[in-house]
Amino acid sequence: MRKMNFFLIMITFLLLPNFLLAQTVTPVQDKANNGQLKRMVFNQWDDWQPTPNTNWLGLPKNPIGWFYWRVLHHAYWNGKDKRPWKTGGQFQQNYLSLLVQKNFDRKMVDTTNKMMETNLATALSMTGGIADLPYQLYFENKFAGLYQDVTNYYEALQTKYPASFNLMMNSSNGKRYIEFLDVEKNRIETIHELFVDRGSRMVSYFKILGELQPACEEIKNYIRSYMLLAALPAPQKIQQPSKPKISDSTDTEIVRDLLKNWKSN
């Protein structure tokens, strides 16, 4: 009998762990917490738990809830809806102003982009050197032609009549013309490299051209006159011109002689 009892006890002990739970999971409903979470973001503002409401007799349905909300946190319970992410709430207002800002900034980008393009185009048109298109297209050849023409005259005089060339170069006019050509060439080069308005640059080119063209003709004529002078025969080879036979004995004879030859109109 004793053995039997002992056996039963042992069996019972051995069965006990079968009913022991190492861990239990209990689903619960924390309505107050749930309501608070709703209020914290966007869901719902007025889910007050435990309820502060009263029944038809005006008595609190839940005295704790009634006391907690209506007495302890009255201002919060009775206050405005403060959900930051609610429709039309603080966040959405900020976001709306952000969208307005974004739109405004996009317009700013468009405006400044156009302004930048205009400015770059202006800068490009004002840049000299390679970017000086009127010069490349027209003025370069025009000026080069004028200078080449004059240079040809100088070279021709120098080659054919070196003495006359030296004489001309040392004359005051010769020096003046050389200086003029030097200054004008330098002006053209300077204006070509300047950072100025394209229109102003072109006006300057035209002014220089207007000065240079007649001056070059003048210089060429000047050189040509030296060529003609140099081409004349030597003074000793020039025959003595026949002098008019005017008597030079007395003033009376001179006057008589003149009157004899007088051609009346």
């Binding site: 749930n34 900034d105 400015n119």
Partner: protein, 221 residues
Amino acid sequence: MRKAFFIIIVLAVLFIKAKSQGIVYHQDLMQRVAENTADKQSWLLLYNNSLDTIQSHRKKVLTNWSTIEAVQQKIYKSLTNVDDGIKQSRQLYYIALKVPKIFENILEASKIAIGKPYLVVYWNGTGQLLIDKILSLQNFVSDFIMSHDNDSLLIDQTTRDQLLWTVYNQVNTIYNISNNMVYQFRQYSLQMAINKVVPYQWYINLDKGITQQILNNAKFR
């Protein structure tokens, strides 16, 4: 014995409810938190995207403004400062060369005038005028045409060039006048001065003219 057995049975029944750990699971909490997080994150994502776009716009605006400012600064500098090309121009070189020569010529003319007192009055008039003119031109070149970092004086480079060209021509003219003055002073004699005062030269010129006419009309054989 029975008593002990009974106690054991009671304990065993009590142990059935025993547990080492209990987890209370708030069903709505996770759902609410997930909803809140999803809502906030979606809005924040939108917000972030908008901020990114604004930042990108601002960067573009900044780049554009930087370019505009650089161009405007360059234009402004070109208006307030004389260009290096004009600073090193041949016009300026020749002006610098001729101005001392003008002073030399005026000095030379004054030396001649000392020897010929009747010329002093001319020297006083012309010489002083040339000196004043050349000094004012010098000031005009240095203060106006070659002005540097002068915010109140905005001049186009081509205008500077044109002004320099005008000054260059004026200096040339003054140089020629001064040269001519020296030459004339050397040639000018007392007799010429008297002739200028007593106008009998007019009669001489008249006679010359008549004679020349006769000679022009003479029929030579």
